[in-house]
């Protein structure tokens, strides 16, 4: 229930009823290494992906830009950008945030953080192989599932390590009551291997026949967006809002109802009515998108009731991101349901409206929710100051402006393009020309998004850097504090093999307070000097 997150306050005060209560700091520290590693890498992929997306956007001003190089042709850069953003950034950041949320809500230490970090390393190798493979011409052409067949097993193994240990952590939970965020996380973590293995087997290795591929690929993409990434994003939203406002969720049952609606109807194929597939597939997709819309409205209402009169407090950094994400989720649910209506799809299909809607889901909802999660967990996991607020606000501004511009311009352009396309009197060149202006304006949005991704990289880097490089309790300090000091004092020491007494000195030093550390090191040096 809702209280299960509210009693996990920052001071780590024991909640009554549970014998073993691990302090929150311990919990956070247990996931420090893998989570920070994932977030850092995710921020890097976001930057790379945004940069590639910008390159493709610029091509509508200069079609022949870098066209002489097969690796950089338009049709390869697009899928590479989307793979970098979806797999490198979104999924990776989602896994990182999901692990931390699991640890926090289960109140159990993260199991085997070292292996999880290893899994994250594999994941990054998998994404890299995928992106390079696409650029080399091995892309599969299925939207959202473009990685070549040889990259998918790497991703699958990496995922199994990360999610498997995450699920073990979940099984060892100290809090038996499940909060709704945990429901979403659990569903997302189970859904992903299911679609990934199905996609890999039935599209790459034993491809199904004809347009059955379209249905499978659509099912994969919708599941990935709505249930895996969407599920983790909703978990973040349901966690962060009550947590920061320090008040329980308005209605647990409303949230649970929305959960089951999304679970059963969110995995539709997302196929529009004019697509060349048997009509029942697009019909079923349309019905399902209606239920998803209903679930979105439920979630929206629930959140609005939760926030209630505290609307003014939404100005805190992570809440700003969360409120944009919630709004985008609601808007996407409603717009997708409208778009599934056949007379609307007649106009919007094959136009820029589709990328606009995808940007609304992936950028507006998922990415913003993940940003909120990252900014919420960074100071807690690093145990240091929150990222500079001005910089976070700048990131927020640039991203929201960029997304807003991109979505509006593409949506509007798409509608005009669709109207023109359905009028056979207008030659096709004129149809594309009518949309071209909008695609050109969209470049500004892409530029803002690149700027936003740089700021995100800087903000994450700034928070992680002190932990990585210096300061007490660094990455290496996931072990124990005194061992860190041992390592710190080591450079001052002479080669150990000569000095059997040195470790003892170091241990002594570690017991002293930080201020006396230097003195101890000096003494040690002096001793060594004396012995010599």
């Amino acid at each position: 229930m809702s209280e299960s997150i509210n009693n996990g306050n920052e001071s780590g005060a024991a909640s009554p009823g549970w014998e073993v209560e691990i302090p929150v700091q311990e919990l956070d520290r247990s996931c420090r290494m893998p989570v920070l590693f994932m977030l850092w890498k995710a921020a890097g992929w976001l930057f790379l992906g945004s940069l590639l997306a910008l390159l493709n956007s610029v091509r509508f001003h200069a079609p022949d830009l870098l066209a002489h190089c097969p690796w950089l042709t338009y049709g390869r850069i697009g899928p590479a950008a989307s793979t970098a953003i979806v797999y490198g950034f979104a999924l990776q950041a989602a896994f990182g945030v999901a692990l931390w949320l699991t640890v926090r809500m289960s109140k159990s230490l993260l199991v085997q953080p070292g292996y999880i970090a290893l899994g994250a390393g594999f994941w990054n190798i998998g994404v890299l192989v995928g992106v390079v493979g696409i650029l080399a011409g091995d892309g599969t052409s299925y939207p959202m599932f473009e990685s070549p067949h040889y990259a998918v097993p790497i991703l699958f193994v990496a995922y199994s390590i990360i999610a498997g240990l995450g699920l073990v952590t979940f099984m060892r939970r100290q809090v038996k009551d499940l909060y709704v965020s945990q429901w979403f996380l659990f569903a997302a973590l189970l859904w992903f291997p299911w679609i990934l293995s199905t996609g890999s087997l039935l599209l790459h290795h034993f491809p199904v026949r004809g347009v059955a591929q379209v249905s499978v690929a659509g099912w994969y993409a919708t599941g990935l967006l709505t249930l895996v990434l969407g599920g983790i994003s909703l978990a973040v939203i349901f966690y962060v809002i009550p947590k920061v406002l320090k008040r329980p969720l308005h209605s647990h049952y409303m949230a649970v109802f929305a959960f089951w609606l999304l679970l059963f109807f969110g995995g539709g194929a997302g196929v529009l009515s004019g697509t060349t597939v048997p009509a029942w597939i697009s019909g079923l997709s349309a019905v399902m998108s209606f239920f998803v819309c209903f679930a979105s409205v439920l979630v929206g209402l629930n959140l609005i009731r939760t926030v209630g009169a505290d609307l003014g407090r939404l100005m805190s950094p992570e809440l700003r991101f969360v409120s944009v994400a919630s709004f985008a989720f609601l808007a996407a649910g409603v717009l997708n349901a409208i778009n599934a209506y056949s007379s609307i799809a007649e106009v919007t299909q094959f136009t820029l409206v589709l990328p606009a809607l995808q940007q609304l889901v992936l950028g507006g909802f998922i990415t913003m929710a993940l940003f909120a999660g990252v900014y919420h967990l960074l100071p807690r996991v690093t145990g240091s100051q929150a990222p500079i607020e001005g910089s976070v606000n700048l990131h927020f501004g640039a991203t929201v402006l960029g997304l807003g511009l991109t979505i509006c311009v593409l949506g509007l352009g798409g509608l005009i393009q669709g109207q023109a396309m359905n009028d056979p009197e207008i030659p096709f060149t004129a149809v594309t020309k009518s949309a071209l202006t909008f695609m050109r304006i969209e470049t500004v949005g892409s530029l803002l998004l690149v700027f936003g991704s740089v700021l995100f990289l800087v903000n994450v880097g700034r928070s992680i850097c002190p932990v990585l490089c210096c300061g007490p309790g660094g990455l290496l300090g996931c072990l124990k504090e005194d061992s860190v000091e041992e390592i710190e004092s080591a450079p001052a020491a002479e080669p150990k093999a000569v000095e059997p007494a040195a470790p003892q000195v170091a241990k002594k030093a570690s017991k002293k307070v930080a201020a006396k550390k230097k003195v101890a090191a000096k003494k040690k040096q002096a001793k060594k000097a004396a012995k010599k």
Partner: protein, 298 residues
Amino acid sequence: MNNGLLLFFGILVAMVSSWFGFVHSPQLQFGKQLPELDESTGASFPVPRSGAANRGRDIYRQNGCASCHTQQVRQSGFSFSVVIEDFGTNTVQLSQLLPSLSSQFTPSSPLPEETPFRLKEGIDLRTAEGIVKSLTEVGAVAMALISPSGADIERGWGIRRTVGRDYLLDSPVMLGNQRIGPDLSNLGNRNPDANWHLVHLFQPRSVVQDSVMPHYGYLFEKREITGAASADALRFNGELVVDDEGRQVIPRTAALDLVAYLLSLRLDEPIFEAPGEKSATVESAEETLVSEQSGATE
């Protein structure tokens, strides 16, 4: 709610049911579908692609052509037309009847000389059947033809909508969902000139003024001209195509394969699931081609 097991089974049921819905059922429908064999002609549909065209499909996939081009044609409905195949012998009664059916005729106007003669277009099925019946009564041989309608079809992108059967022999199926460039389902029929396509791939804006397609120069080999130009070098309207540095341009195998694939894309065969009218629309497609030669993006 603290029952993790119940949650797990709930999720499992959702996963399995959506898998059956969107993965298993479509495969049940298409897994055993075979190409349609026309016993009278021995031809099968869909027509298997040549080796070069199959390799070309791979080039199409590698370069992500599907991100800007669809291969699916929609239709908004049907209209019917009446065609008289034979006027019969009872010409007196027929010429009395015709003015009541079509405004092209007056009681005194002579019967058209050529058959089949298209009497009416764009009418609904009931009207068409009524006309056919009254024509049959006076001894003429007439039939009602079905013709799909819609913007895509009027643009000449196909004589009918595309259906699942069209893609039975293709893997991956690249339907595409963006039309930055035109639909390619019927490209082989719309523009059967392989050389035009090669030039278009090499320098899109030299043949289509406002095209936003990037050039695919890497599918071509540039060679200095020593003496006479190579016989394989790219020519357009009899003139040698050269690159910026004045070198001759020779299409690589990849370019030839890609064009073979593009030319193998045809949507001109009516089939059971999607009836259409072959002869008439091929004519109109050719007309479209002529009008498009001047300025259309590919």
